[in-house]
């Protein structure tokens, strides 16, 4: 009698193990398989093409009926094993089939994880794991106008979404994280993927928290935390898998996250083996077939009696199987010390590639849009050989360029033929640019842009144009201009222009479309980009808190000892007894060590503990006070003098105008801080002539000033113009601030912006061009609709960013 080999589970891993076994020792065992699914072994990986209709089930069968017959295998279909009796050495199925074993393989795979939110048991909530799930999905998609919500924007969820879309459903993907497939992709590749899927009509919502699946008996919709309600006839949960270990655990085998095995796939019982997704080896569990097939090979050899082989952990690579989307990732692509990255972006073709090297070895790769070299990079990652400096120059271009001579960019451009296209957007050839440089005597990028339009649109050929300037002019070429930071060759002006021209609405979008050289930017460019996006897309762009300096993130100024200062707004420098009393109470209640009048006519509470901030704000809010934005690249103070209310020289209500200006402008973000002052007469007690914007009241109206500085640099203001009414003063000042918000470079104060663009240009925009002024003013008022929520109140009463103010705590263990 042959020994009996019983297999629990008929998936991809044991299927491969049996193939190895039969090749090596054909008649060694009598094989009996239990399969909970009522069918033969099929290629689970290819379920998505079946869902989309591109394949049929028959196309994806691995082992047909004849294979089981030829190998004398007994296959119990639709038979779920519910008990392993290690004493008696038998297994028993739910329906009562019992088989005795000499050797047993547990290959139960994994179970999809279902989020236990309210409604998760309604009819129409599905997982995505086997053919039955696919059949149900197709059934739903056959109904007219049906819609689906897929929870989970990982590999499986996106494949399901693309398949359902191809079946004609309305599909929404909900993803908890800010970018798709964050485990396999960095944010740039995630952005490209999101863009591609959205363009196919799949609705993608990131940072989405599912609150509840709604419906009577069956799914009718999905409710999100933020109150959004999405209609749905079906919900597919694709949020992760858990190794299926219950059976092994009940049988008393050692388990962790998975069934613990040795390097020969043996469990803690020497006659029981385990293979596939249910296994845990040296702390790793696997969810992709490559390592499982390796486990299967080792197991097959082991059962065939060929000892001496052992399984070892190795890297895995991923490809998303959505027709028309090329995406590949492998290895480890986290940032780290000693790690360097090579990034290649081609915005016009939608290509993004990133390689990560550690100590001169390739350790990770992400490819989007062009993945032909994926296998080659993956091989390099697994081999772990040192990449020579020469090889490295062309590494990102893949196998075909490996070993080629690196070209210096100027030499490469010089070698191009005259009809080579340099600027794709405007169809400008090399010959045209060179002749323009020579004939028109152009000396710089700006000249080439205005003369030929080359690099004036998307800007990604800027580097090529500069190389052309360099090789045409030689030493005469003054070189490149100031860039935002080392992550890009573009200057702030170009970046601002391109954000508008190309309608870029997120930081990853800017980085991808404008060819950022790093994957995530740095502490210098991220705050700048965040500001540009806030200012350009009011109401649309969602502020990226992590790209803000701490003061703007927690709405208070950090102090040398890690405490914070709190400065409530004092409109136009005014206060009253109620506010003062509330401030006094807050100081006592929270034992605030220092109270000081600032140089900006208001009160500063210094030394507040971070955890107390929300409570301090609550008390100040209750007395009617809001944030003074003493921390912001935005409106700070509007200083005033007492004006006609009290002063014997006052010509206008300077205090009142100051309050109106501050009410209009508070909450606005700007490239750098903005300070105003309104003085009631030319004696100028509010020091209007050293402010970003200053007003001096005179008998006949208001003299408007701008461009003063009194910090590290001192300079008096220049006159903008004179206006007659308060309304005009407000309109001109609002328009001026908006022009600066739209044109200023990050950290550039109004005087530096005016120095750069010219004081006369500013006057022409704001004073001479009445229509332009009104348009600036209207855009300012519009953007203020989204800016004037008191950030303190949002945090004190509405729970925004609660994690900032409450540390995690662990008490000492016993």
């Amino acid at each position: 009698m042959k020994p009996r080999l019983v297999v629990i589970g008929n998936g991809m891993a044991p299927g491969r193990a049996l193939e190895t076994l039969f090749e090596t020792a054909p008649d060694a065992y009598e094989v009996i398989i239990f399969n909970a699914e009522p069918r033969v072994n099929y290629n689970r990986i290819m379920l998505s093409p079946v869902l989309s209709g591109e394949s049929t089930f028959d196309d994806i069968i691995i082992h047909g009926d004849d294979w089981y017959e030829q190998n004398n295998i007994t296959l119990h279909r639709g038979a779920r094993v519910t008990k392993i009796d290690r004493e008696a050495r038998t297994v028993t199925s739910a329906a009562g089939i019992t088989e005795a074993y000499d050797k047993l393989i547990i290959a139960t795979g994994s179970n999809p994880f279902i989020i236990p939110c309210p409604g998760h048991k309604l009819e129409g909530v599905l997982a995505y794991r086997d053919l039955d799930d696919v059949d149900k999905m197709i059934e739903f998609s056959n109904k007219e106008n049906s819609s689906a919500v897929v929870i989970g924007g990982g590999l499986l969820g996106l494949e399901a979404a693309a398949g359902l879309k191809m079946q004609g459903m309305d599909v929404t993907v909900l993803h908890l994280m800010p970018t798709l497939m964050e485990r396999q992709l960095d944010p740039s590749a995630g952005y490209l993927l999101e863009k591609e899927l959205s363009s196919r009509g799949i609705n993608i919502i990131t940072k989405a928290n599912t609150k509840e699946i709604v419906g009577e008996d069956r799914v009718e919709g999905v409710l999100l935390d933020d109150g959004t309600l999405l209609k749905a006839d079906m919900v597919v949960m694709a949020v992760g898998i858990r190794p299926s270990i219950e059976l092994a655990k009940d049988a008393g085998l050692d388990v962790g996250r998975g069934i613990l095995v040795s390097s020969t796939m043996q469990t803690s019982d020497p006659d029981i083996y385990s293979v596939g997704e249910c296994v845990e080896f040296e702390g790793n569990v696997y969810g992709l077939v490559a390592p499982l097939y390796e486990q299967a090979r080792i197991l097959g050899l082991e059962l065939a009696g060929e000892t001496g082989n052992s399984f070892a952990h190795s890297e895995t690579s991923t490809k998303l199987k959505v027709t028309g989307v090329d995406l590949f990732s492998a290895g480890d692509f986290a940032e780290g010390e000693n790690r360097e990255e090579i990034v290649f972006r081609d915005a016009s073709r939608g290509i993004y590639k990133r390689l990560v090297l550690e100590e001169d070895r390739l350790i990770g790769a992400v490819l989007y849009g062009e993945t032909a070299d994926g296998a080659w990079f993956f091989q390099k990652i697994k081999e772990g050989e040192v990449v020579s400096p020469k090889e490295r120059e062309n590494l990102i271009f893949g196998q075909n360029f490996a070993g080629a001579e690196p070209l210096d960019p100027t030499a490469a451009v010089a070698a191009l033929p005259d009809d080579a296209e340099i600027c794709g957007c405007n169809g400008v050839s090399k010959g045209k640019i060179v002749s323009a440089i020579e004939k028109e005597g152009l000396k710089d990028l700006a000249g080439v842009r205005s003369c030929t339009k080359a690099s004036a649109s998307c800007g990604t050929c800027t580097g090529l144009v500069e190389s052309l300037l360099a090789c045409t002019l030689g030493d005469e070429f003054g070189g490149t201009k100031e860039t935002v930071c080392g992550c890009t060759d573009l200057g702030p002006g170009d970046v601002r222009r391109l954000i508008v021209a190309k309608e870029l609405k997120s930081i990853p979008a800017v980085m991808q479309e404008l060819g950022w050289k790093t994957s995530n930017g740095c502490a210098k460019c991220r705050p700048a980009l965040n500001y540009y996006l806030v200012a350009t897309w009011p109401g649309e762009y969602v502020d990226d808190q992590q790209s803000r300096f701490i003061n703007e993130r927690v709405h208070a100024n950090i102090q040398k000892d890690g405490t914070y200062s709190v400065v409530p707004r004092a409109w136009g420098g005014l206060t009253n007894s109620k506010e003062l009393r509330a401030i006094a109470d807050v100081v006592d209640k929270f034992e605030i060590p220092t109270v000081k009048y600032t140089g900006g006519q208001r009160i500063d509470l210094l030394g507040v503990k971070k955890d107390d901030l929300p409570a301090v704000w609550k008390d100040l809010n209750d007395a009617g006070m809001v944030s003074g934005h003493a921390y912001a690249k935005g409106l700070r103070t509007v200083k005033t003098c007492v004006g006609t209310d009290w002063c014997r020289f006052g010509t206008q209500d300077s205090t009142g105008l100051g309050v109106k200006l501050e009410r209009m402008m508070w909450g606005s973000w700007s490239p750098a801080k903005v300070k105003l002052a309104v003085s009631g007469c030319p004696r100028n007690c509010a020091e209007s002539t050293c402010k970003d914007i200053g007003v001096i009241c005179v008998d006949s109206g208001y003299e408007l000033h701008f461009g003063g500085a009194a910090g590290m640099h001192i300079q008096g203001t220049q006159v903008l113009c004179k206006v007659e009414t308060e309304e005009e003063a407000l309109e001109y000042c609002g328009a001026l601030l908006q022009a600066y918000r739209e044109q200023g470079w990050y950290l550039e104060r109004i005087y530096k912006w005016a120095d750069r663009v010219g004081y006369d240009t500013v006057r022409a925009m704001i004073v001479d061009d009445a229509e332009g002024r009104k348009a600036f003013y209207e855009r300012f008022l519009y953007s203020q609709k989204f800016a004037q929520d008191d950030p303190w109140e949002e945090r004190a009463s509405k729970g925004v960013d609660a994690h900032e103010f409450s540390p995690l705590t662990l008490e000492p263990a016993e």
Binding site: E182, R183, K249, E337, S519, R553, K560, L808
Partner: protein, 110 residues
Amino acid sequence: MTIDTAVLDWRDLCAIDDIPVQGSRRAIINGREIGIFRTSSSEIYAIDNACPHKQGPLTEGIVHDCSVTCPLHNWVFDLKTGVAQGQDEGSVTTHPIQIRDDRVYIQLKG
């Protein structure tokens, strides 16, 4: 279920999603202030939350790549090694972190 003995020294701190991406959380563990950081690729690191320069709270800094920039005077620290980058010299203690089932476990170093 058998438990890996090594697991016993690890303390369950929080869920991964309690820490904002490209952000941080302060943690008080046995009375000691530790900064827990999460990079854009969701790697988690733990370091003592005091800058060796002038005790700046590093959790309040901007997280970029695998580093954090101190909010007080802009020293930059590698989160993995705790070593100051560039011209500046100094380092902070790092603490081992393990992720299991989307939870963050920490082992406190002396």
